[in-house]
């Protein structure tokens, strides 16, 4: 078949020329965060998780103030039961053993302190991690190598061991020192994350453009690159809170964490161990359930955040 030559007439087409009366396509333009918020709202699990988590926050903030029993003033019980009395109207979560504290008061205070530790440690981790990771990823070369080797070495240290050592230095039992220790661990993961994002963003053209315009490195890192890394940072920090809460619970349970003068969900559980064989299940059950609810809420929220902030997902 002969090769066909199309009619060259030019009536249909025009030279590509800016300024022609093109038909604009009208699209609803949404900001990046508005889109993310919309997607988050649609995520049913995320909304449930948020409700759970913020509900617990409210409990932790308001609870100790409105409860009948003050944590520090333990009334002497009228009937002495060594194993503590089970849940009843006056003690909805029952009583502990020996001193017969109100478990509900204990748990509510424990929620407060566990949340405090989790949130502060994660925030610390996020800030330090972003700075270190941002610097390492942006400058690359020796800075990057040295910083990342330090991160790797610190990551190789087992948590329990470090806690043990630190409690010897800082004196065991202070919830603030425990928070700091966790914060010093949390930043490692975030640093690696931010560094990875930096390494890929660094190659983008707008970085060269900014540098050519004379913008200082520090400004480039923090005003231009970090906002793009914000999504994984947010997700990672949120999930980190859950990790710290469970981690604190574990070490307090083992006796290495926060001392008994400040109640955390972990050390409440530690105290309950000895009385289980005497039939006291409520002392261990309620603090644990509180942990489960908080962590579950955080995990649901984190899942929703991850989906909402994922730039690759379709609208």
């Amino acid at each position: 078949m002969a090769s066909l030559v199309p009619p060259i007439n030019g009536a249909m087409t025009e030279d590509l020329d800016p300024g022609g009366p093109d038909y604009d396509v009208q699209l609803e333009s949404l900001g990046q965060w508005q889109i993310a918020w919309r997607r988050f709202r649609r995520h049913r699990m995320a909304m449930i998780g948020s409700a759970l988590f913020f509900g617990m926050v409210i409990v932790g903030v308001v609870g100790p103030l409105i409860l009948k029993y003050n944590y520090y003033n333990i009334p002497v019980p009228d009937v002495h039961v060594n194993a503590g009395r089970p849940p009843s109207l006056s003690h909805p979560f029952g009583e502990t053993g020996r001193l017969q504290w109100d478990v509900l008061t204990l748990v509510v205070n424990g929620i407060r302190y566990s949340l405090l530790i989790g949130l502060i440690a994660s925030a610390m981790g996020a800030v330090i991690g972003t700075i270190v990771g941002g610097v390492a990823g942006y400058f690359g070369g020796w800075t990057d190598t040295i910083l990342m080797r330090i991160v790797d070495a610190l990551l190789a240290l087992p948590l329990l061991f470090v806690i043990l050592v630190f409690t010897k230095f800082l004196g065991s039992g202070n919830w603030i020192s425990v928070t700091i220790i966790f914060g010093l661990f949390e930043w490692l993961g975030i640093a690696r994350l931010v560094r990875a994002v930096m390494l890929s963003l660094r190659e983008e053209e707008y970085v060269d453009a900014a540098r050519a315009a004379g913008i200082s490195d520090r400004r480039i890192i923090f005003r231009h690159l970090v906002p793009n890394a914000l999504s994984p940072i947010i997700v990672s920090t949120t999930l980190g809170v859950a990790g710290v809460i469970i981690g604190e619970a574990f070490i307090s349970f083992l006796g290495f964490g926060v001392g008994f003068d400040t109640p955390t969900l972990g050390n409440i559980l530690a105290g309950s161990l000895g009385f289980i064989s005497q039939g006291n299940w409520w002392w261990a059950f309620f603090p644990g359930m509180a942990i489960v609810v908080i962590v579950l809420g955080i995990n649901f929220m984190g899942d929703g955040l991850r989906d909402a902030l994922d730039p690759r997902a379709k609208i």
Binding site: A2, M12, Y23
Partner: protein, 360 residues
Amino acid sequence: MTETVAAPEEAPEPVRRAGVGDVLLDVQDLRTYFHVMDGTVKAVDGVSFSIRKGGRLALVGESGCGKSVTALSIMRLIETPPGEFAGGKILFEGTDLLTMDDRHIRKVRGGEIAMIFQEPMTSLNPVMTVGDQIMEAILIHQGVNKKGAQEIALKALQDVGVADPKRRLKQYPHELSGGMRQRIMIAMALSCNPKLIIADEATTALDVTIQRQILELIKAIQERTGAALLLITHDLGVVAETVDDVAVMYAGRVVETGTVEEVLLHPRMPYTRGLLESIPSQGKRGQRLSAIKGTVPNPFRLPPGCKFEPRCPFGWETCVESEPELITIGRDRSARCWLNDKRFAGRLASYSAPPATEPR
């Protein structure tokens, strides 16, 4: 060429026939919709055409016009949520593929209709040897044992021009070049003697020189086996060399049909003409590139009248208000444009300026 223009009220939706002999594939008013978060996309909205045994038809259009979705719909390879077959029939040898049960459609896939996809890089399973992948189809459709399947596979590889087929059988896809992988895909398609071969942009992802080879190969195979060919492409140059008949698609509808000469030399739908004029060619050397002004319409905001009207320099009020049907212009020739309506013959005259050159 006789010009019979029917009044819009009377003209039935004409069906495109191609090739000689009985009708093999008859697509009637196919509608495939996708339900996404922001609404429903009518990717294919009333497409009809047919192919005869041994016939060769090209479905042409820009990205997003619905041609790939049409091809996938024929094989029912659309995920049904979010997709939906909202209407129409796909008659293959008389049976409607859309209402077939799963067992039978699987027999049709690969056995009677075979598809060659666009991306040879990703269309082959990276962890299976090439031989296993070819033999998989043979074992399903041909009822032979493993040894027999291997022989058929070897022959298929030879037919597509692969040297040293015994060695190739044991190789993995990542060890082969793009052109070689596409030959494997073609071998896979052929191995079960299909009656219809669908090539969905089969050469688009390949180097230009390889494109030519693969096209020649597809042509040669089609001629030798007598299978029908449905070629999906956006490349008009490919169309001219490979098929007899053309159907042009825009915004989910067929907008022009005819033989290759009819459509490419005397396009009766401004969109087709625009496509032809925007092909860079020798005659326009030194000038600026040309393009059809405007952009493909937003699937959620389609204009109420002719879908092409916003970009058409020949349009007038009728075009804005109502969408034309496919108007029959001749035997197996139609165009979805008011210019072809008898009532607007005057406008047709100003549209049909004589073409600059005739083919040799």
